[in-house]
């Protein structure tokens, strides 16, 4: 359960990137990989809890999930796997490179025009 400290980091990043004249942030978009070890609902809940009573209160967190995409180093097969089982469905090899799915990034903020 480290979603609370992650939510605090997100608040810091939003504050740093909000132009001073624009306080009307509406939403923040966060990219969360399937293997980032983060529970999206819990992250959104923590974000709502720590922004309550602050200038960021009411800002919506939009979470974009990034699928786990892997490439087999043996046969070159690339595909999205439904869960982190590290066996190539094509050749059975276990030497897989993770291409995406570990993201934990703030990608954008939507603000009301001044």
């Amino acid at each position: 359960m480290h979603e609370l400290s992650l939510a605090e980091n997100i608040v810091d990043i939003v504050r740093q990137n909000l132009p001073a004249e624009q306080s009307g942030a509406v939403s923040v978009k966060v990219r969360v990989g399937e293997m980032a070890g983060v529970v999206p609902d819990s992250l959104a809940f923590c974000f709502e809890a720590i922004t309550a009573g602050t200038p960021l209160e009411g800002i919506r967190m939009v979470i974009e999930r990034v699928p786990l995409r892997e490439k087999c180093r043996t046969c070159g097969e690339e595909r999205v796997l439904p869960q982190p089982l590290f066996l190539c469905p094509a050749c059975g090899g276990s030497d897989l490179l993770i291409l995406s799915g570990r993201e934990l990034e703030v990608s954008e903020i939507e603000v009301e025009d001044p």
Binding site: M1, H2, S5, L6, N9, I10, D12, I13, N17, L18, P19, V26, V30, M35, A36, G37, V38, P84, L85, F86, L87, S94, D95, L97, I98, R102, L104, E105, V106, S107, E108, I109, E110, V111, E112, D113
Partner: protein, 231 residues
């Protein structure tokens, strides 16, 4: 409405401090391990067996992470090595800043290695780079052989697996070959050791490997980035 594009990592602050820690370790030629596992797998016991064998051959300090108490730091300090306890007061993992603060109480210039024992937790610590050269994950036979499949990120992000409590295999529902195969299916690059802190089995092999890593780091072979299969 307008959109401000940011593209910043949520953990960028932690990663920046981890880089600072890593630079500091490299400058002093100090080899640093981050030991991770579920609670009760035997991290501290492995540390004790390791210090018993190596404390007169290399200069090791220990940073202990726990939710409460300094019990582990006291266990380790009994071997005559510098030990710093970090109490997270509920925090489920160590962060780079906590390790950075702990380094204020450690004289890196007089050391060959630092072993960080993370909070017992197979989930959260896998996300936090502390500045270590590598993560060592401990899995004990009493936890069963399916843990690598259930907690893949931790096994994926580690470079070494120590399978501990091998002496208990006859009494528990755990197959050593299955545990090892499951871990290697998640991360084929794992270096694997099998140990028992009760019988001392496998401890000599683990210590020989550790000594070699410490020797390489002292020669400037310490990696500038965390060693990971996907990097």
């Amino acid at each position: 409405m307008s959109v401000i594009t940011i593209e910043r990592k949520v953990l960028e602050k932690n990663e920046a401090i981890a880089r600072k820690n890593r630079d500091l370790f490299a400058r002093h030629g100090v080899f640093v391990l981050n030991m991770v596992s579920s609670p009760g797998s035997g991290k501290t016991s492995i540390l004790e067996r390791t210090l018993h064998r190596l404390k007169d051959r290399v200069r090791i300090a220990v940073i202990e992470g726990d939710v409460q108490t300094d019990l582990d730091a006291r266990r380790v300090a009994a071997y005559g090595v510098p030990a710093v306890q970090i109490i997270t007061q509920g925090g489920c993992h160590l962060e780079a800043s906590l390790v950075h603060d702990a380094l204020a109480n450690i004289d890196l210039a007089s050391l060959d290695a630092v072993i960080i024992e993370n909070v017992g937790n197979l989930v959260c610590p896998s996300n936090y780079d502390l500045g270590e050269a590598m993560k060592v994950v401990v899995a004990s036979t009493t936890e069963g052989d399916d843990k690598p499949l259930k907690y893949p990120a931790m096994f994926r992000n580690s470079s070494v697996l120590i399978i501990n409590k091998t002496d208990l295999v006859p009494y528990v529902n755990c197959s050593l070959p299955a545990l090892q195969a499951n871990a290697l299916s998640i991360n084929p690059g794992l270096t694997v050791f099998q140990t028992s802190c009760t019988t001392d089995a496998g401890i000599a092999e683990w210590c020989a490997w550790l000594l070699e890593q410490i020797r390489l780091a002292s020669q400037g072979g310490a990696s500038a980035a965390p060693i990971g299969i996907d990097e």
